[in-house]
Amino acid sequence: MEHIPILRMGAFLLVTIQVDMHDQLAMTLQDDLTERIRKTGARGVLIDISSVDVVDSFIGRMLAGIATMSRLLNAETVVVGMQPAVAITLVELGLPLQGICTALDVERGMDKLRAAIARA
């Protein structure tokens, strides 16, 4: 079965989505990620979607879902590098992903995660 690799960097988990997200893959990612957070006790999750140029409402909901689940497991989530077209699509779909943390690129995303953890 296809998996999206989850890399560990210190207290953070790094997910780079570089393929077209289909529903099954998104579900698998959700499973894998929650499992990894539990296992590693990670404090932050960074999802890089800069190579994703197509999203639908399911993927949008899944992103919001991952953020909520991670918070339940005491980890902050930052989504980075969203393409303009993707952002417009999500807004038009009525999914502004309220409450999800975003950043322009991986570096700034890491800064945000560190700041969030320092605050907690």
């Binding site: 989504v79 980075v80 590098g81 969203m82 393409q83 303009p84 993707v86 952002a87 417009i88 999500l90 807004v91 038009e92 502004p96 992903l97 975003t102 950043a103 322009l104 690129d105 700034r108 995303g109």
Partner: protein
């Protein structure tokens, strides 16, 4: 009807064939006399155009149904007229002057028809009517092409205006400003949104200031568009500040019950820039000893 019109002698092609040169002379003279603008077209060019028109008219009307100009038979003639209309339009001719190109053929043509048919008043009336029908339709066609050329010109200018009116300015390292001017409709807001988001990606800016000082009114639809832009920028990881909200607009927004609570707003661009700098952790301070 087609059988009747082709059965009755359609004299136009034969008259053109017979009196081609004389017709051409009269017609060109007619136009040079009538049009004050004819100076801007060379007589030789005009003569060439007229000759081609006569040739195509003869071919098209030969056995063709004069009451239906949509057929394939008339295609090449219409194409040629379309070209003439467009070039003349570009040269500054009015639609009337362009249509006169066709209408001025009437007098020479009718004279020849009358001479050809002699005293047969009924036949003269019928042939004249047919010729009038064709020439009127062709004359109107030039006006139509003229109008279409104008419309496409206006559409292109609108497009250019759209691009001109949405500049994205980098005011500081990491801060973009988008001064919006004029009324906002959905097409414009779409362009604004796309340009802004694209610039955010290209410059890696964390703060985007949308300045609406130049926007005369804000209604619910515009507010919704603004909110969408802010949400989209937020999704990409940039913060939006809306500035330039004039007192009347602030009042309108409240009266309309629009909720801009989730958006950072400032009265002026300067305040918005200050806020942006604060968020980036930068501060502007006067140099020591140089305080005003």
């Amino acid at each position: 009807m087609p059988s009747a019109s082709s059965a009755t002698t359609n004299l136009i092609p034969s008259v053109i064939a017979k009196h081609r040169d004389a017709l051409l002379d009269d017609w060109v003279r007619e136009q040079l006399g009538a049009s004050s603008r004819s100076g801007s077209i060379k007589e030789s060019d005009l003569r060439r155009q007229c000759a081609e028109f006569l040739k195509l008219l003869r071919e098209a009307s030969d056995g063709g149904d004069p009451s239906n100009l949509d057929g394939d038979r008339w295609q090449s003639l219409k194409e040629m007229l379309g070209n003439i209309s467009r070039t003349r339009g570009a040269q500054g001719f009015t639609p009337t002057e362009t249509a006169t190109f066709v209408f001025s053929l009437k007098k020479p043509l009718f004279t020849r028809l009358l001479r050809e048919l002699g005293g047969n008043a009924e036949a003269v009336a019928e042939e004249t009517w047919k010729a009038t029908e064709i020439l009127d339709a062709l004359g109107l066609y030039t006006t139509e092409v003229f109008q279409k050329a104008r419309d496409s010109l206006i559409a292109r200018q609108q497009e250019e205006m759209l691009e001109l009116s949405t500049p994205v300015v980098k005011v500081w390292d990491g801060i973009l400003a988008l001064p919006m001017i004029g009324t906002l409709d959905s097409t414009r807001t779409q362009v604004v949104m796309e340009t802004l988001l694209q610039s955010i990606v290209e410059t890696g800016s964390q703060i985007a200031i949308i300045d609406i000082t130049g926007v005369p009114t804000v209604d619910t639809l515009i507010a919704q568009h603004l909110l969408k832009t802010v949400s989209a920028a937020k999704l990409m990881g940039a913060d939006c500040i809306i500035s330039g909200i004039r007192p009347q607009i602030a009042q309108t927004i409240v009266h309309l019950g629009i909720d801009l609570g989730s958006v950072t707003t400032r009265a002026t661009l300067a305040d918005a820039l200050k806020e942006g700098l604060r968020r980036l952790g930068t501060e502007l301070r006067a140099l020591p000893g140089r305080e005003a």
